[in-house]
């Protein structure tokens, strides 16, 4: 046949072009900052991370996970076999039949991709993504027909040059999408960048069921020379594997669907944010972005370049300040992209370099620096709440079984009710407990989420220095934010103060007391109760069960909200969001209270003072908001002497 050379040539040309694109793309990632990654171990672990961890997340949507297995698996298998059968011309019936089988599998998968795209949900990106199922179908059909002669089904040279020519055009169309598009920025880019992102992920601890939620500390250098820039100003200030991670996005919009700020009409959409990061390091504008915009901000005006300051023209600072750091997007992302890390990195630049934390941010940070609490109260009044509690102070007793980390709730009258309820329970169970009193400082959570890592690190180091002078086995707190800092973020500062110390949230601790039979509780006889999972307890620390078991111990059958456990919707109180207070169309707390109301519950149990404050801020009539410690304390059977 005259055109025998055409098909192999087309395949090789596109493979070479894809190779060039891959090198070009890798150089874009390499423009980022150095970060140590165990390359070999990562690459070796990649298949398992893909097949297990990633699939586990994708599998929350059975339809797409099965579709993807068929399409993706079929394509990878088919592409490898295409190279053997059609490029190297290996003459083997077995290979040809295997290729046919792979293509049939891919075709079936692609049909479901096509079906999904007939009436796609708003979270999915359109544009080039609408063309993808057609390219997938073309690829599978074309190579199926092309492989039939090799499998012996059709005679060699069937159809003559006309069919070869038609097939070549189709090959060009489909392979351009599948190979060329993979490395030159088409929708298939997610496969190439995604595979490498899984291999070189910045938080490898997340794979295999692990958890890694603590923010990475800012490197302030050696104290002699000052770094040129703190935080992320330009796309090239990200670590190289963060840039790679942004490129892995499939624009499935699962993050958008769960983002509380997006739902509230604040100018944030996690998917768009990641796409803007790609625009940043690859250069260009957001004109070609075909998904939902940031609420209230029109598309087409954002411009970016690798060495351009991100907040000058690419992203409005309000977008970054809208985030509540609830991690719903990260939890939901099938590509395991770290949105929150990126947002806080950019906030660090705004706070540490530009001094432009919005609204009350500046004042709160100034207060934390001058008084070690966000509201500027006298540090000597930190223990006033406990004047009638007869609690031992570490300064006097030096050691105790349990150190009760009071947190800044000590200054807030509503939170003090939670603190008192918890103390009452601990006393009833005869817990050997002490507090730090005025020696305790703010945990640094708010400062860190507002981007002021200098103040966070100062607080962390001073707190650790205090803690290291006392002996205790457990540290328990009613504040999930302080809990998260103590448990996951204080470890970066080279102190052994928390070594061999168990850091516990009060619900976990109380659950143990109840299980050990140390608390006598009478069943709860109120109405229906639902439970709101605080982000920093649930998604950040994986504690979903202890609060539910506690409620069950009171005979409460929790009426679960549609969005609960790892899908819990944020109350709007995290990440300094109530301080920066970016306007939206609705309040996040109002939406969460609607979730509560829809269960028909008359009370919502909470395990966090911030959540309590946010949910109680919703106008009445609404269900009662109570911390689990308060509910338990109300049911406590007190011994009478």
């Amino acid at each position: 046949m005259m055109l025998d050379w055409l098909v192999p040539t087309l395949i090789s040309v596109l493979l070479v072009l894809a190779g060039i694109g891959a090198v070009r793309r890798m150089n874009m990632w390499r423009a980022g900052q150095a970060e140590k990654v165990d390359m070999l171990a990562g690459l070796l672990a990649m298949p398992k991370r893909y097949l297990h961890d990633l699939h586990h997340v994708v599998d929350r949507d059975k339809y797409i996970s099965r579709t993807h297995v068929a399409t993706g698996g079929g394509f990878v298998l088919a592409m490898v076999l295409v190279v053997f059968v059609h490029l190297f011309g290996v003459d083997s019936k077995i290979l040809a039949w295997a290729l046919l089988a792979a293509l049939v599998m891919m075709f079936c998968g692609a049909l479901f991709v096509y079906k999904r795209r007939i009436n796609p949900p708003s979270r999915l990106s359109k544009g080039p993504w609408m063309r993808l199922p057609k390219s997938l179908l073309t690829f599978s059909i074309t190579f199926f027909v092309l492989t039939l002669p090799a499998a012996g089904v059709l005679p060699e040279g069937f159809g003559g040059w006309l069919l070869t020519l038609v097939l070549s055009v189709l090959i060009l169309m489909s392979l351009s999408e599948m190979l060329f598009g993979m490395t030159w920025g088409g929708p298939m880019k997610h496969a190439f960048a995604g595979a490498l992102h899984l291999a070189f992920h910045r938080r490898p601890e997340r794979f295999g069921g692990g958890r890694s939620t603590g923010l990475k500390p800012v490197d302030f250098g050696d104290g002699v020379s000052v770094k040129e820039v703190l935080g992320v100003a330009k796309p090239t200030d990200f670590k190289w594997n963060q840039l790679l991670g942004f490129d892995a996005c499939v624009q499935c919009g699962r993050c958008e669907a769960v983002c509380p700020a997006f739902a509230a009409g604040q100018p944030l959409n996690p998917k768009k944010l990641i796409q803007d990061m790609v625009v940043g390091f690859a250069g260009g504008t957001d004109e070609n972005y075909a998904g939902s915009p940031y609420p209230g901000i029109d598309l087409g005006h954002a411009k970016g370049a690798p060495n351009q300051i991100i907040t000058d023209g690419l992203i409005h600072p309000d977008t970054l300040w809208s985030c509540t750091t609830c991690r719903a997007c990260v939890e939901e992302c099938p590509m395991m992209i770290e949105h929150v890390d990126a947002i806080v990195d950019m906030r660090r630049f705004l706070t540490l370099e530009k001094g432009s934390t919005p609204n009350k941010g500046a004042q709160v940070l100034e207060n934390i620096i001058a008084t070690d609490n966000p509201n500027g109260y006298a540090p000597a009044s930190r223990t006033h709440w406990a004047a009638d509690q007869n609690l031992p102070v570490m300064k006097d007793v030096k050691q105790a079984d349990v150190l009760f980390w009071v947190s800044d709730g000590a200054f807030d009258m509503r939170s003090q009710r939670i603190l008192r309820a918890f103390v009452k329970l601990m006393k009833a169970a005869n817990v050997d407990v002490a507090i730090l009193g005025d020696e305790e400082l703010d945990s640094g959570d708010v400062a860190r989420r507002l981007g002021d890592d200098a103040t966070f690190q100062s607080l962390a180091k001073r707190n650790l220095a205090t803690l290291s002078t006392y002996q205790f086995n457990k540290i328990v707190t009613t504040d999930p934010h302080a809990f998260h800092c103590l448990k996951n973020e204080y470890g970066d500062f080279g102190s052994d103060a928390l070594q061999n110390v168990e850091v516990l949230h009060h619900t976990t601790f109380l659950n143990r007391l109840v299980k050990d039979g140390l608390l006598q509780l009478e069943p709860f006889k109120g109405g229906k109760v639902t439970y709101h999972d605080p982000c920093y307890l649930g998604r950040y620390n994986g504690e979903y069960e202890a609060p539910r078991e506690l409620l069950a111990s009171l005979g409460i059958d929790v009426a679960e909200m549609e969005r609960s456990k790892f899908r819990s919707r944020c109350c709007g109180g995290g990440g300094g969001a109530p301080i920066t207070d970016i306007p939206g169309e609705r309040r996040i707390a109002d939406m969460r209270m609607e979730d509560v109301v829809s269960t028909g519950a008359s009370m919502v149990a909470v395990g966090c003072q911030q959540c309590t404050a946010m949910l109680e801020g919703v106008v009445e009539p609404r269900p009662v908001v109570k911390d689990i410690a308060e509910i338990l304390a109300g049911q406590l059977i007190e011994e009478t002497h």
Partner: protein, 258 residues
């Protein structure tokens, strides 16, 4: 505004009222803010004291590329150092806080400076609206949000009231990177202050408040009004001679002029 006008803001180490910790002083921060508005990058910020003081970085973090420190040991009088610095440099406007948050906190520094330099002093400024080659239009802060506009000839010293624009947020990175120009000065130990014994202030007993006001508006007035001296008269249509006579009579009466 006027690039050829030299503006200097004097800053001190403040003290947080709740924690007692060193901080960027409230009014001095406003003096820097006003200075930045007038002179932008050309603003000179001067501190007399210890150049190692970390709080100075908080001022530098407002966007200053450098900060001048007249090096002094603890317990030295800032006044002579500042006077010699200001006379050696051609300065048009000096901005200070009304009173420091630390030390004597007498609020005398701007007055003494003005006296020694023989410059006019504009107390409690809310804003400086415009500056020309010879003079500046200054808004004075009066009680209850009132303002008075005055024209002052350069050079002058102004103390910045709490009514002025709040100091911008300080940024950690630029604060660390700012250069400190440390100048060695002939220091004078403040002998008088050396003799004093400083103790913590005791809260003064509060006078009982008898509410006489009948309406909310009256109560508001009573709560916000500063005591206004009775007597005096407003002269608008009289001749300049009559006005001058009235002032002279008053000065005689108050025994200012003998």
């Amino acid at each position: 505004m006027q690039p050829n006008v030299n503006v200097i803001s004097l800053v001190s180490v403040g003290r947080h009222p709740q924690s007692g910790r060193a901080r960027r002083a409230e009014q001095d921060g406003r003096a820097v803010e006003l200075g930045l508005k007038l002179a932008g990058k050309n603003l000179t910020v001067v501190h007399a004291g210890n150049p190692q003081e970390p709080v100075l970085r908080q001022y530098a973090g407002m966007g200053l590329s450098s900060l001048t420190v007249l090096e002094q040991a603890q317990g030295c009088d800032a006044l002579p150092a500042l006077v010699s610095f200001l006379t050696e440099n051609s300065v048009n406007i000096v901005l200070t806080g009304v009173r420091s948050e630390n030390g004597e906190s007498s609020g005398m520094l701007p007055y003494l400076l003005a006296d020694q330099l023989n410059w006019p002093l504009v107390p409690r400024v809310a804003d400086i609206v415009s500056v020309s080659a010879e003079s500046a239009e200054v808004l004075l802060a009066l009680p209850r949000g009132q303002r008075r506009s005055v024209i002052v000839t350069l050079p002058f010293i102004a103390s910045v009231d709490n009514a002025a624009q709040e100091a911008r947020q300080t940024a950690f990175g630029p604060g660390l990177r700012a250069d400190f120009h440390v100048l060695a000065m002939d220091t004078v130990v403040d002998e008088a202050a050396h003799q004093w014994k400083i103790t913590a202030a005791k809260p003064r007993p509060k006078r009982l408040k008898v509410v006489k006001a009948k309406t909310a508006a009256d109560r508001m007035k009573a709560a916000t009004a500063k005591p206004v001296g009775s007597g005096g008269k407003i002269m608008k249509n009289e001749t300049p001679e009559e006005k001058a006579k009235a002032i002279f009579d008053l000065l005689l009466e108050e025994k200012v002029v003998r």
